[in-house]
Symmetry: C2
Subunit: 228 residues, 2 copies
DNA sequence: TGCCTCAATCTGGTATGGAAGATTGCGGCG
DNA sequence: CGCCGCAATCTTCCATACCAGATTGAGGCA
């Protein structure tokens, strides 16, 4: 039974916001499976609140494309759609390519330390084969580059897209951490060298892996996908 | 007094959705000015509904970055922030550059007719100096390219960003329609010729105009902007 | 057996009232 | 005159009740 943290009442965080965070995690990690119904009243019971904050959380999640809310029809976790995933990839790639270009232009020697720090932590995660740690560090790495390039805001958008992509990633439990780390290193080197085109090329390949994950994921969990 | 269309009840469109559309337009067209309070109860009275659908509309608008909803503080139209506008431009440019590249790669002779049709309508709007018609056609043109490139979905994201940009545009009443039309023609030609780099170049310049609008807008309406 | 009908029960959308924190303005005091 | 405190009034957030359409399942009929 998930209950809302009664103690911290973190700043002014509202119930609805906490519910969004929990449900989003449930959906991305496939605890709530694609197609599962997410009833307002049941969810309200689960969190020990009324329907209202749940309802508002679902509105937010629907804007993230994670649930499908229609009048007088059951709200459901949206099935994974190949098109939606590829669209999300398109958006992420477009945004992050531009970030890479900008980062390569702006790079200063001072960046070296910050990036190598993150790469070091990734080394450890790879050595320990700690998937979830690496996943978190992966995100931190990409976000850090955006922040260094002065467009940290953009990462919030990418994060929204990533929800679609992460569901696929969690289906396949992408495990080639060493390769990802190598690509991160290549990206870092290209940026520090001011070679935007190189960074762009590596990034596109880096992100392209989602297509193979998509195929294997679809094979392993066909009923998580929208029929076509 | 704005009242909700009582007749159509368009499909299953909900009150909250209609309110979103109206308020968004009010904000983008500066009928609701940056900093203006948008009270739940007053807005409910205005639309002749209860506070609940208004509240949900405000949640959606806050996710679009148009209003600022905080617990127990007055909800207000977010002031225009130079950074937010430039961020929105960054996002739009990144996405649309990628669309242009893709469009140039995929272009077929069949596209010619569709695009020239829109350009023709724009000619008329320019001749009539009909700003709002041109504005609508401008959006239709960019959206059409995205659709032709098979990524119409992406335009929904751009549309969300455009809300920030359009507020500035409405402040300055950008009137150099002829120049915009010329750029549209250049973009069309580049795409049909398969010259992605050329299309990208023109587009970047096309979108770059926002910076001058930002300057003049800030000069004319300083109190619409966030202080810094 | 198979299908059709209808009622019980589900769904999300809306209305309303109350609660607690924020804001505001007035009145008293130094 | 200026400042402080408090009460009236605002705000959003949440709980509860009700509504109409959708779904479902059981029962009756052919």
């Amino acid at each position: 039974m998930t209950t809302l943290s009664p103690t911290p009442t973190f700043l002014d965080e509202t119930n609805a916001e906490r519910i969004v965070a929990v449900l989003r995690e449930d959906i991305v990690r496939l605890t709530l499976k694609p197609g599962d119904p997410v009833s307002e009243s049941e969810t309200a019971l689960r969190f020990g609140v009324s329907r209202q904050p749940v309802r508002e959380a679902l509105i937010r999640l629907s804007q993230l494309g994670l649930v499908n809310v229609r009048a007088r029809k059951a709200t459901r976790v949206v099935p994974i759609s190949e098109k939606a995933v590829l669209d999300a990839r398109f958006v992420r790639e477009a945004l992050e390519v531009e970030i890479m270009r900008r980062a390569a232009q702006m790079a200063t020697p001072g960046w070296d330390r910050e990036l190598r720090l993150l790469l070091g932590s990734q080394e450890e995660a790879v050595a320990a084969q700690d998937l979830s740690a690496f996943h978190a560090l992966d995100e931190a790495f990409h976000r850090k580059i955006a922040e260094l390039a002065g467009v940290g805001f953009v990462w919030d958008l990418i994060d929204a897209q990533k929800a679609q992509l992460d569901r696929v990633r969690f289906m396949t439990l992408d495990s080639n951490l060493a390769l990802s780390l190598e690509e991160h290193k290549a990206i870092t080197a290209a940026i520090l060298a001011g070679d935007g085109a190189k960074a762009e090329g590596v990034l596109r390949k880096h992100l392209g892996k989602i297509t193979t994950h998509l195929a294997t994921g679809r094979q392993r969990f066909p009923d998580y996908f929208v029929s076509r």
